[in-house]
Amino acid sequence: MIDKTGTLFDAAHLVKDDDVIGLGGLTIYRRPVGLVKALIQQEEPPQNLTLLAFTAGIGADMLVGAGLVNKVRTCYFGLEIFGLAPNFTAAANKGKLDIIEESEASLACGIRAQLAGVGFIPSLAWQGTDMFSVRPDVKLIEDPYSGEQLTAFPAISCDVAVIHVLKADRSGNCVLGGNPTIDLELAIIATTVIITAEEVVDKIEGKIDIIGDNIDIIIRLPGGAHPTSCYPLYPIDGQEILRYITYCKRGQLNEYLEGLSLTPVSLSNSLG
């Protein structure tokens, strides 16, 4: 078996300026928060990233707050019942973010177009809404059979995907443990795929959710989703999310991240 395990340091260096970075998981569930922190805390973090996520949550908000992201591609950016994502909301309100407005269907069709190698997938979605006014790049197409006007959602590409998983083997096969979201598709369309895993094993007995062939690097990172959940290992840490919001509202994201750097996983050890 080809051993693809590496360090957080190696992984963080795979994210380059101007990359489209796709984050696995769902809002506050199984997000790759540990890798996001490692990205931010590098000496020279990547700049001008485009963030791609089916729904964006706390990890994405950290990237925005730390100034790594200038473009956002998602259909929801928030912290669910914990409220608005503080850095995203502040940056968006100031007009500092280029938002590529998406919906579930536009993301789903865009990913499928990318997988199929075609430029678009047609859909009934968005017809009659104002979405086109903020996405002038999305074209309409006439159904050649019925003549109906359809929305032609364009293909979506991804340079580097970052996905936190329950378990991985050294070749990159992964078990997600629920909430599959778009992680399998993301791992396939991304040019480079970074996996952080609660556990790295020699061989996974039983079924897998992501096949290792497309995976580039695997980092053992227990607690790497905290304060988001990693079902069934640990639940959402709501108190920590609230603490994050408090710091961010004071403009103290750096202080928050510094205070964290040894928890829940020792970054310095992992970097070694």
């Binding site: 928030g78 789903a108 499928r112 979605a125 968005w126 104002d130 979201t181 778009i182 959402i236």
Partner: protein, 266 residues
Amino acid sequence: MKNNSFYASELMAVCISRQIVDGEIVAQGIATPLVAAGYLLAKLTHAPNLTFVSAIGQSICQDAAPIGLATIEMLWIKQGKMTIGFVEGAADFLPTFEPKEFFRPGQVDPFGNFNNIYIGGSYKYPRLRLPGSGGIPDVTAYGNNIYLYVPRHGRHTFVKSLDFRSGLGHDPGRKRGAGAHYLISDLGQFDFDEESGQMRIQSLHPGVSLDRLKVKTGFELLIPSKIPETDGPTNEELRLIREEIDPFEIRTLEMLGGVRRKQKLL
């Protein structure tokens, strides 16, 4: 907020429950515990054959479980009978199954068009950027099972004219599907006139006056000649909500503003 012996959140959950028909499929978005309470109440009362489709877990569930905050995945992953990823779900299954879903608008206009993108200012420089539209511009464009809920009825939400239309309502230009059938707020129940598509009072909640409703609504509502009072919850409905469905009162988080919500969460 206390009316007689129940809270507005409880009445809203009961009203949501009453909109559910046995045997149908309901969809559950993210951060909507009030809706979850309503669905679960329906499941435990008149709709035992209800099927849930959940964004969290991307699963289809047929069993009920209490609402938990940190443990919400227990409900949707552990009890999930079937998992369908978001790509398949959004592209293939939502258009076919057309599950009934309750959406919470950031703004709603007299015709049930709604907005979850931004409020005030311009798109580029909004007064308040909202989280985004999720699947709203999709299912409202073709679906027939759109329902709305507004936990805090006010003029900031019920507006004459939207800043952005991400959810399609009753619009003469609509090509497929139908605008929202129903809206429930903490003040009353509403439907939409079949001819004009305009929002109409269906009932006012106990203790809510028509004047108060008018003050809280930024546009003219259609007013029937006789306005009934919303039927309150039964004792059994209240017991189910309080003891079995949502003992930690997570539903009430949706009723609160940021500061009070945070106090509740801490």
